[in-house]
Symmetry: C2
Subunit: 193 residues, 2 copies
Amino acid sequence: MARSARKQQILQAALACFTEQGVEATTIEMIRDRSGASIGSLYHHFGNRERIIGVLYLEGIGEYAARLEAGLIETLEPEACVKLFVSGYIDWVVANPDWARFILHNRGRVEAGEMGEQLREFNREHGRRIAGILRRHRDAGAFKPLPKECFVSVVIGPAQDMARNWLAGRSKTALAEYRDLLAQIAWDSVRQH
Amino acid sequence: MARSARKQQILQAALACFTEQGVEATTIEMIRDRSGASIGSLYHHFGNRERIIGVLYLEGIGEYAARLEAGLIETLEPEACVKLFVSGYIDWVVANPDWARFILHNRGRVEAGEMGEQLREFNREHGRRIAGILRRHRDAGAFKPLPKECFVSVVIGPAQDMARNWLAGRSKTALAEYRDLLAQIAWDSVRQH
DNA sequence: TGAAATTCTAGAAAAATATTCTAGTCTGAT
DNA sequence: ATCAGACTAGAATATTTTTCTAGAATTTCA
């Protein structure tokens, strides 16, 4: 089997523990207990605690990145492209709140850990593909002149901060209500006027 | 003495360890070693490992929030206010990169931990003060209609994402170079047109 | 001042947690 | 049926955090 069921059980149990207790506070024992796996099985699949975190993180951004790229490829208009960054992001967060919270809060941990290079490599590749998709709009003059490094931050930054607040329970209103507004703001920030 | 020198030594040692090894990987022993304190002293001042993290976090956002609020109070024009959010933020990050990295990466941990309520309380108060300062501009119609919950995210979101990238070493260009550009974008996003 | 109270420091001991290791069981291919 | 490799189990070990007892330094105030 490509990815043992047990391995997925462990990852799901881990995410549930992380959500309820926080990453810091969950012990291997809790994950073992909740997943029904044994210590041996756990270490067979992941090797150490940090790698459970790393795999969960990488699978999460992988899922999201694949979805975004797939959407972008079949979106022709620059406005729709930019708005898809935001609305797609918010849709994903709303559909996967626990995973999204985990990802928003653990980038630093994974970056600093033994899987950091793998994460950076993934981000480089993803960034390259995104840049490729956007190039034709950029070349066609659809966007205002903006350093390449700033583009994605400007587009996605506000939505990300809103998502953080919403996931922390700080915002009462459903995040989805702001979806189109934030998409419009993003487009206004980068379009050629 | 209001805040024992030893306590500050421990916090500084902890931040240095966190920067070099990552929060996960630094042990109490490393902090003890680097600070020159004893285990007893460490636990006398903080009680447990998590509280070292919590105090460092709260001191950091406290420092930054105080600076921002002080600046805002003596800034009269709405445009200057909004731009100060961004430029003040970037200045602080550039001046305190280690502290900023630590704060950007550990909100979730502190929020989920035993000091979470303290953090939320701080954020509520800070948010209230900020809202108070901005009210007159809002009432004067300086900003475009925008849900209250979105305003700060829209203003600060892009700068925050850029800061994250810069601190992770992902961006070659100095963050400060984008300071005025990001401030202008923030202002364009919220001003009444 | 000087004695009592409090704060702080020390490091050994205990508790909690993560990881390794050995001995298996199960599954699928030949 | 049997062999190889993937997987599971849990006891043993190693690491790390936390507690505890004792004593040093500092502050308080009579």
